[in-house]
Symmetry: C2
Subunit: 263 residues, 2 copies
């Protein structure tokens, strides 16, 4: 790579795997904005959260999936992909990391389960500005054309703003034609959770096993939330922090352990 | 379980697996404080972050490891354990969830990689007050005797305070004799990261593979951080939020996309 070239280096990853249509849509949307390096999992990694692979080694193989773009598949998690890209391929930090476009929403509490967002969070931890993109359509046949325009608009805005090193956005895009999108809305993470309903079955030997299923429960009607924005056909943009400290509670607990420990 | 009994129901899990000495130490430290239910992974799950198992089914089997205490092992992640315990064993929320005692520290940014803390975070998401405990000693032969006293003191304080439903603490304990602990300090998460250094090797067929290793880098000298507290032989207690919104950045971005989307 030519150091005299001033175009930004853009690392692209995802959690649906390097062959998913969503990552191809993301690459196409931004490929002329900089030098692109693709490093993505070799198989779907949805729900992997911020998992890293420490119990066994990783494989990384170059693939030829995207014309003119250096691309690799990794046997590990989305977080592993970011780590390997920085340490073994780039040997330095890229200017920005883009993750997605995920097949399915990652609003509200999904930020914590999402491999898409975990890759972006890992980049942010490593002082790389980062954005995770998700389309609200789980189908592998989803139409990414509107999402591609949104991606382009968001990435150009962020690159032009000289983002600080921990800049991190969670962007969710309604699955509607571009003309029906009402705009891009900066939001907070809605307070929501899943009500688990494991599907209990018996195998041919009579032993029980369980499939995780669950119902999404939004407990937050705030019009400043990502869930509200998406329900109203806005693109939601939630800035995400990698400092998880609950400062309000911290203040409340300050007096709890003033005394010395008792034996 | 007798509904007339007013003792709290305490769900215990970990990420080192149900056979790890750390979870036994945790159980022993609190077993007379309430009804204990143990649901833990059947094998080590360190570094699993907030992973959930969606691509294959889960197994859950009762084990007889702790005298007089109902205990189960699960084939999935720490987060899966919490979900299964609530949905399939308790059929309601326990009064508190305790995770650990982890073999190894989970201070600063480790909160995001840690299976121990992810189990506690999952409980918090599900409106269960929760605490993750970690001892700063990775050894399976670690001495948990001081940690057990700390656990007891923290759990009694929290249970007595009627914690709200999202109450969540990340507690790290220096690996020193109890007499050398200087107290319990409420802290914020230190700003730290890992510098990755993948160990590149070749298999007998000449193909490369990579082991994840890395050096911990603390970039935060604040005396209000968990890293400072631990370096100074304090137990660190960081209250953790499940709202990841970066509100400062949110305010700054409010003007970015005032206009409508451009086609």
């Amino acid at each position: 790579m030519n150091n005299l070239d001033k175009r930004p280096t853009i690392l692209i990853t995802n959690d649906d795997g390097v062959t998913a249509p969503g990552i191809r849509s993301l690459i196409e949307a931004v490929k002329d904005l900089g030098h692109i390096l693709v490093v993505a999992p070799d198989k779907p990694q949805s729900g992997m959260g911020h998992a890293i692979t420490i119990g066994h080694p990783l494989r990384m193989n170059q693939v030829n999936l995207f014309e003119g773009i250096e691309s690799w598949q990794v046997s590990g998690t989305p977080v592993d992909c970011v780590k390997l890209a920085v340490d073994k391929l780039l040997h330095r930090r890229p200017d920005i990391c883009l993750s997605g476009i995920n097949h399915g929403a990652n609003h509200s509490i999904n930020v914590i389960y999402s491999g898409t967002m975990s890759a972006a969070m890992e980049a942010s931890i490593e002082s790389i500005p980062s954005i995770g993109f998700s389309l609200m359509d789980y189908s592998m046949e989803a139409d990414f054309s509107a999402a591609q325009k949104v991606v382009r608009e968001v990435v150009e805005q962020v690159l032009g703003s000289k983002p600080d090193e921990h800049f991190l956005l969670n962007v969710n895009i309604p699955s509607v034609p571009y003309e029906l999108l009402r705009g891009i809305k900066v939001c907070r993470q809605a307070y929501a959770k899943y009500r688990e309903e494991f599907d209990e079955r018996r195998d041919p030997h009579g032993r029980k096993y369980y499939w995780l299923t669950g119902e999404f429960i939004n407990m937050d009607s705030g019009e400043d939330t990502d869930v509200w924005a998406l329900q109203n056909n806005y693109v939601s943009v939630v800035p995400v922090s990698i400092d998880f400290t609950d400062y309000k509670t911290k203040n409340r607990l300050e007096g709890w352990w003033k005394k010395e420990l008792t034996a």
